[in-house]
């Protein structure tokens, strides 16, 4: 903690960690991938060599260098090398459409690029890019290890391009001080220890994964493991073989763990095999209400044996909005961690263990985060982790701040115990024909049914241009579209308070569209549906 508070830059922190942890493993690939790992000392040596090679190109302090690399131990090494050379890193999520990568390179005015094997051939050709390295070239042994450029806390460390489907990419400017402040605040309430192993599943360029899944564990002397695969079954394999203790969760992993639990419940004769397809909420209800503690303990042991028994916590991003998951995880002895964050706040703002949070809360505010509720109940933030603005976009910066407070675009409130609640996304507000403003999050809890595997509310557009709150339902397995769903909908609708009554129900054959961390993309769904209707 002291080291984090006293470091002036992220590379400075890595240097200190290398001194403290030396040959302890810092970054590794999952057991089954056969790739090499890096100790804290090797990581720091790589950072120094990489920075020296970047310095040789003549790039000047503050120049932008893109990092387009798959998730592997060299990713953080390359990132810190860019920073140690006094340059500004522009991490890009792998697999992004090429035109998006080009747009980012252009907007950032990137002069250099560090990539994977394809760094010289396939990545975007943008006039401003003068130097390209593969990560292997950048970090290769040999060469001069010279001291890098000293960075101050106020120096820009990286430009984080906000994800999403916006036409124009927005680059959040984050300084070393912003990132170190969020890290220090996070470590005051969460700690890991050497010997802990974090499975890094989300793309490393995702700021949440960067903070909670990479730099956070490294600051504690723990190990970061990259799964090296996108296949969900192998994530469970990695939990077992790499003795993983923590991870930031993605929906695919949740579903795999759920499948393991179902296997165990079926083997124990608690659930009939033909009911495997029942909804997650129905399973959660049965775990809560019908299964005796002795049987539950036996099932927990069974599942933990399948997944290796080391896993302690899973940080849930947007998936936390579904209240069924924490009890499911609890049944298999895993603590669910909920939270709230946004890129503009480096990114973690609040966190808490699900079982310690009041229902609907996303945890307690981190130390040093200040909150105010603005017009329209908008959540406003201030604190040392908050960005100074968007790169090359004064208009967006002005629009996003009110009297020095960051406008989050989310409606929220904080209770007397410091628990934060997010009650809606301001952009997702629906204005009904009656002129009333309603948020999907207000309506959705009224429509829980064992017949629905997933559901959400998004607006259809009425003939007069108003929003018709519509329930989109993915039926549970074995439930047919049609009368059963309609009947359940009518019943739920009649029981809902009048202002929270959805206008209609639409069955989907696909799972709900979600972001990487599991947030439902309601606007995307509504847009798809409204476009389809317009075509018809």
């Amino acid at each position: 903690m002291k080291l984090v508070r006293e470091s002036q830059s992220l590379p400075g922190l890595i240097a200190g960690l290398a001194k403290r942890h030396g040959d302890r493993c810092a970054l590794g690939q999952a057991h089954n991938s056969g790739q090499a790992s890096l100790s804290y000392r090797e990581l720091w040596e790589g950072v120094q060599r990489g920075a020296a090679r970047l310095a040789d190109t003549g790039l000047a302090k503050g120049d932008r260098v893109m990092l387009c690399l798959e998730a592997r131990p060299e990713w953080p090494a390359a990132l810190f090398a860019i920073m140690y050379a006094g340059l500004v890193a522009v991490p890009v999520v792998q697999g992004m459409p090429p035109e998006m990568v080009t747009a980012i390179a252009t907007h950032a005015g990137a002069r250099g690029l560090v990539g994977g094997r394809n760094a010289h051939s396939e990545l975007p050709v943008v006039g401003s890019i003068e130097f390209r390295f593969t990560a292997d070239e950048l970090l290769a042994p040999g060469g001069q290890a010279q001291s890098g450029v000293t960075s101050a806390r106020d120096d820009v460390a990286l430009l984080a391009f906000t994800s999403g489907s916006t036409q124009q990419p927005r680059a959040v400017v984050l300084t070393h001080g912003n990132l170190l402040a969020d890290l220090a605040a996070l470590l005051e309430v969460r700690d890991a220890k050497p010997g802990d192993a974090f499975l890094s599943i989300l793309p490393p360029a995702h700021l949440f994964e960067f903070m909670v899944g990479q730099i956070g564990p490294l600051a504690c002397g723990a190990k970061v493991v990259y799964p090296g695969t996108r296949l969900p079954n192998r994530l469970v394999e990695s939990l077992r073989e790499d003795r993983i203790t923590h991870a930031c969760c993605v929906p695919a992993l949740l579903h795999c763990l759920y499948d393991e639990l179902l296997d165990e419940l079926i083997a124990a004769g608690v659930i009939e095999p033909e009911r495997r397809g029942q909804s997650v909420s129905e399973t959660a209800r049965r775990l809560r209400e019908e299964i005796r503690p002795g049987v539950l303990a036996q099932i927990r042991e069974g599942v933990r044996a399948r997944i290796g028994g080391s896993l302690q916590t899973l940080a849930l991003g947007g998936a936390a909005l579904n209240p069924d998951w924490p009890p499911i995880l609890q049944a298999i002895g895993i603590r669910a961690e909920v939270g709230y964050g946004l890129t503009e706040a480096s990114p973690v703002v609040s966190t808490g263990y699900a079982e310690e949070c009041p229902p609907g809360s996303v945890g307690q505010l981190l130390p040093t985060v200040e909150v105010r509720i603005g017009a329209g109940e908008e959540l406003l933030l201030r604190g040392p982790m908050v960005t100074r603005g968007y790169y090359g976009d004064t208009a967006a910066t002005e629009e996003s701040f009110a009297d020095g407070w960051l406008r989050t675009g989310d409606r929220g409130r904080v209770d007397e115990n410091g628990f934060l609640y997010i009650t809606g996304r301001i952009k997702e507000a629906m204005v009904t024909t009656a002129g009333e403003t309603i948020y999907p999050e207000e309506i959705e809890p009224c429509y829980a049914s064992p017949l629905f595997a997933e559901w959400c509310v998004a607006p259809r557009v009425s003939a007069d241009g108003n929003d018709l709150p519509t329930l989109f339902v993915v039926p549970a397995e074995g439930v047919q579209n049609g009368s059963a769903v309609d009947k359940a909908f009518v019943e739920l609708r009649n029981n809902a308070p009048p202002r929270l009554r959805a206008d209609a129900v639409i069955c989907l054959e696909q799972p709900l569209p979600r972001t990487l961390t599991g947030k439902v993309r309601r606007r995307f769904l509504a847009k798809q549906f409204n476009n389809k209707k317009a075509e018809e």
Binding site: L231, N233, E477, Q510, P511
Partner: protein, 83 residues
């Protein structure tokens, strides 16, 4: 296991996994398109096949296994190599 047996078992596994009938789907049809799979559902199907046949797809080629024929070929080769 010969190719026909693999195909039968594969159809059965995929039918169970995606709760959709695979009978009208030909060996060369694109599964992602025919079954209207999103990227996560495609990966989950490959995961089911890995588990069922005790094989491992090379990670960098995951996007190529989109037809029953490709899957049957891969499984046959993997099983021959395992012998």
């Amino acid at each position: 296991m010969n190719a026909t047996t693999i195909e039968q078992e594969l159809r059965q596994a995929l039918t169970e996994a995606c709760q959709k009938e695979l009978v009208p789907i030909g060996l060369e049809d694109d599964l992602v398109h025919e079954l209207e799979l999103d990227s996560m559902a495609s990966l989950r199907l490959l995961a089911v096949v890995e588990k069922r046949f005790d094989i491992r797809f090379p990670d960098h080629l995951l996007g190529e296994y989109r037809t029953l024929q490709k899957l049957v070929d891969f499984i046959s080769t993997a099983q021959e190599e395992a012998l």
